[in-house]
């Protein structure tokens, strides 16, 4: 049992050790993301930090990258994403899905 507990702790501690993620900064204003598209290296975990200058509540969401987070006006939120296979992934504001859209392109890192 103590071995199991130690193993569990080790597994829990692991992500803390491996945290040197790239941070991408976005702003949403007038229900538009800026920048609305950006590139990240494929196969790496990264974070997106979004600041809202909108006047109403938004929900920062992506089916492709599996995050959804409510953001109230004036706030800043951070979500984790990746590691992604090379390709294009979409994100949007679930409360204004027609207006606020953006894409992330994961590019293969050349050795």
């Amino acid at each position: 049992m103590p071995t199991l507990a130690r193993l569990a702790l080790l597994l829990l501690a692991f992500p803390v050790v491996a945290q040197a993620d790239q941070l991408v900064t976005l702003v949403i204003q007038n229900h538009t993301f800026s920048p609305s598209s950006f590139e990240v290296p494929a196969g790496e975990r990264f974070r997106i930090q979004l600041t809202s200058h909108d006047e109403s509540v938004d929900e920062f969401e992506s089916y492709d990258m599996k995050f959804e987070k409510i953001i109230v006006p004036g706030n800043t939120v951070t979500v984790f994403a990746g590691p992604l296979h090379p390709g294009t992934y979409t994100f949007f504001d679930d409360y204004h899905p027609d207006q606020a859209k953006g894409t992330v392109t994961a590019v293969e890192v050349k050795e």
């Binding site: 829990l12 692991f14 945290q19 509540v57 938004d58 089916y63 109230v72 984790f80």
Partner: protein, 272 residues
């Protein structure tokens, strides 16, 4: 207006699936309407309060309060559901035989109804707070005809409730003997799905290890973005690109519930 209708419809349907299954599973239990209605009411009230404090919750716990809150909600729901499921396994048969004269099952039934009321409350709470925030955003924004969008929202609630009700009627039409085993499975799958989603949320903020990202990609078949995908997510915990830890949580929960059912079923029921 149509986009607005769809967004609200989706959220209502997700909560409605849970309510429908619980209602079908509690066929014939005395006073179930009170508990289910109470669960829905508490969920709606909670959603309103939650929406008020979203900003504070989001910024809590180093900015990941919202994720931790959601995962806790899903986890709590899973525990309640598992409890009901195991209770149903041990009492379902006698309940089916003495369905109308609820008799001595009522006392036990009430305990399970409490658990189910909590399940419904958190289902409505989670989806409801999104609806409240969304509708509030519409009401607050000065742009683009808020009235027609609000109408869309209301229609969305009606359509979601109607479809959930139809599903409930469909479930009830199944013969009573099979109903309990079917709803038992559905609740087990619901619980497994929630365990998986809770694990995915926690892994999504690096709180627990992911044990592999994108184990497979079936978004070409059923995308999480589609309505089918959303319904399957609510029903069985489907996701087009699962994490390792999500699959493990899903399988372990389902296995435990099925195993628990077997154990309870293999034990002869006490004679009265």
């Amino acid at each position: 207006m149509l986009a607005c209708l769809l967004i609200v419809f989706r959220e209502v349907l997700e909560a409605g699936i849970v309510v429908g299954i619980v209602m079908a599973a509690t066929q014939g239990l005395a006073r179930r309407g009170l508990f289910i209605g109470g669960g829905i009411a508490a969920g709606v009230l909670g959603a309103g309060i939650l929406a008020l404090f979203t900003g504070a919750i989001t910024q809590a716990l180093q900015g990941f309060g919202q994720e931790i809150f959601n995962a806790a909600i899903l986890g709590g729901r899973r525990v309640m559901q598992s409890w009901h499921n195991l209770w149903m396994a041990s009492h379902g048969r006698e309940l089916a035989t003495q369905l109308r004269s609820a008799g001595n099952a009522v006392l036990n039934g009430e305990k399970s109804l409490w658990a189910l009321a909590v399940v419904i409350t958190v289902a409505v709470l989670r989806e409801g707070s999104e609806i409240v925030l969304f509708l509030y955003g519409i009401a607050a924004s000065s742009q683009a005809d808020p009235l027609s969008m609000l109408a869309g929202g209301v229609l969305g609630i009606a359509a979601g409730a109607a479809l959930s009700w139809l599903m409930y009627r469909g479930l009830v039409a199944i013969s009573l003997k099979r109903l309990f085993s079917i709803t038992g499975w559905m609740i087990a799958l619901l619980a497994a799905g929630m365990a998986g989603r809770a694990a995915a949320i926690l892994a999504g903020i690096d709180l627990i290890p992911a044990w592999g990202y994108q184990l497979w990609d079936t978004s070409w078949l059923v995308s999480d973005a589609s309505l089918t995908g959303r319904a399957l997510t609510a029903l069985v915990g489907y996701t087009d690109r699962p994490l390792g830890v999500q699959l493990v949580a899903w399988s372990v929960t389902l296995a435990l519930l099925v195993l628990g059912n077997r154990l309870l079923h293999s034990r002869p029921t006490q004679s009265r």
